[in-house]
Amino acid sequence: MTVLLDNLKDDDLTENISAGPSRGWYHWLIVIASSLFAVVSIGFVGSILAYSFPAWGHAATLITGRGWQSPTGPYGGLAMITGTLETSLLALTFAVLVGLGTSIAIVFLVPRRLRTIVATAVELLAAVPSIIYGLWGFLVLAPWMLKSFDPFLAKLPFSSAIFGPSSQQFGPSLLLASVVLGVMILPTFVAISREVISAVPNDLVEASYSLGATRWQVIKDVVLPAAKIGLLGATFLSLARATGETVAVALVAGGVADVQFHLLQPGTSIAAWIATQFGEAQGNEISALMALGVLLMLINFSLSLISRSLVNRQRKALARV
């Protein structure tokens, strides 16, 4: 049997050649390449797990502890975990609300001729390296927020309860990190959700228009229900990207390991903390950072498995229509 013609497995054609001596060098080449890929993937997980091992003796501190005392320990990861959750969920809310409207506008409102250009632009923006978003947030957005946005926020009711006192000397804060993350995952979300929305069969859309439905009724009652699962998949994928983002958050979150719910105060995230602390870390601190990496891996892998299965389910559902 050769793996090369598996696609034709059910076909009578392949039966005769299957028995032949087809395990040539080429067969082995692709088998070895894919085994190498499998080995690298196992090594990826195994190597990080192995170096994180010493830190799991203090697993409780690592997950629920406050404060990161380097270089002696204890190393508490609660601030990084809450920071990751706060920034990525806020960013996700912004990206989904604005992104959904944007995708609908691109599919239903932008003239057909411009649509490919807009779609390409969105995909290019999704390819912009995250360090660029971080740089923009750090050098442009941070001073602007200090000067113009924070005084505006201070006038809102319950401002001090939600946002806390603004850190006057530095721009970086959890809110800034959420905004930068939101702007950054927006193209990712729009790229996928636009595709999902435009994959809804045109027959359905035209049929409902012909029944006299308005544009909003078509979107609300036909397009969104048909695209629901795929949009959920796009949401989880964006969330996975937001939780794993490193350097942009490292630049704009402030890099302070405090459990902080006031959004104008500095904080950090798991990935950003690994990046900022790794340079000076030694011994036990390295394994504690590796253990944070394992946590991040668990979060990311479960999010991406959920989103993959959702997107696949959507594809199957649409194939049936």
Binding site: V3, L4, L5, D6, N7, L8, L13, I17, G24, Y26, H27, I30, V31, I32, A33, S34, F37, A38, V40, S41, G43, F44, S47, I48, V98, G101, L109, T120, E123, L124, A127, V128, P129, S130, I131, L135, W136, F138, V140, V183, L186, P187, T214, L237, R241, G244, T246, V247, L251, A271, I274, A275, M290, G293, L296, M297, F301, S304, L305, R308
Partner: protein, 309 residues
Amino acid sequence: MNPMDELTLTPSLTVTHDTIQLIAKSHRARRVLISRVVTALCLAALVISAVPLVLLLVQLVTRGASQLNTAFFTTLPQSPTIMSPNLTGGVSNAIIGTIALTVYASLMAIPVGVFAGVYLGESTSKFASVLRIVAQTMAGAPSILMGLFGFSFVVKFLHVGFSAIAGSFALAVLMLPVIAISTELSIRGVPNTLREAGLALGAKPHTISTKIVIPSALTGIVTGCMLAVARAVGETAPVLLTIGGGYINQWRPLNPVSALPLSIYINAKSEYPSERAQVWGIALVLVLFVFVVSLSARVWAARKQKRNS
């Protein structure tokens, strides 16, 4: 009275044609109004998402373009001092470092990724379906984890130390699943009739793969590789933990190197305005490179596809 003008709903309640029309009209007015409002909201969302992204690109170009000159590309960086705060030098070390890292990473990732992708595309074995899920999960893994892998495996376990090879290993791990997945999709896109035609001519399976399937899928495979390169060039987190940095022009695999994203990350936090200004130049070069590579990949693929169909 015309019987058509009067509808009897219940014996006690009669509704005239006019009333129905009135209700329908007011209902329609409401539907249309809601639809218009939502349409306006969607357009507003489009504008809201465009504004920050356009601002970012405009600022990148206006602030970055003034930094670019020959010295920027050809000289080594110099640290500004209090005496000469405008002294920054160029970023030749980071440019050479980024080129070296990208070339080594591509040499490692492209052969393995492409042939693993061929396997994923052609095989229906259990191993292939597991590997497919692994590839999809790895493709979405945070890049800082690739940095941790490069550090723990190459820097520590193999005792190579901070080096170009450690950084390019981390970047190769990042590129590998991206290349494998795009290759798989292109291989799957080749119609089975072509494979059957090859069989009918008496070709061996490996001849069918190398002479028929891969050439037909080549555009997609090359596009996937280019997009993977474009992604690897801009990644900061993996190189942050592995390459060590440095202020000399050097490309040797076993020595530390610098890289463009790393220079951005470090110089953005500089206390000298001159260094913070120079960062925009580096950022512009990086974004231009990423845009040129991914745009040309897309345009080339689209053109090929048009010619084939």
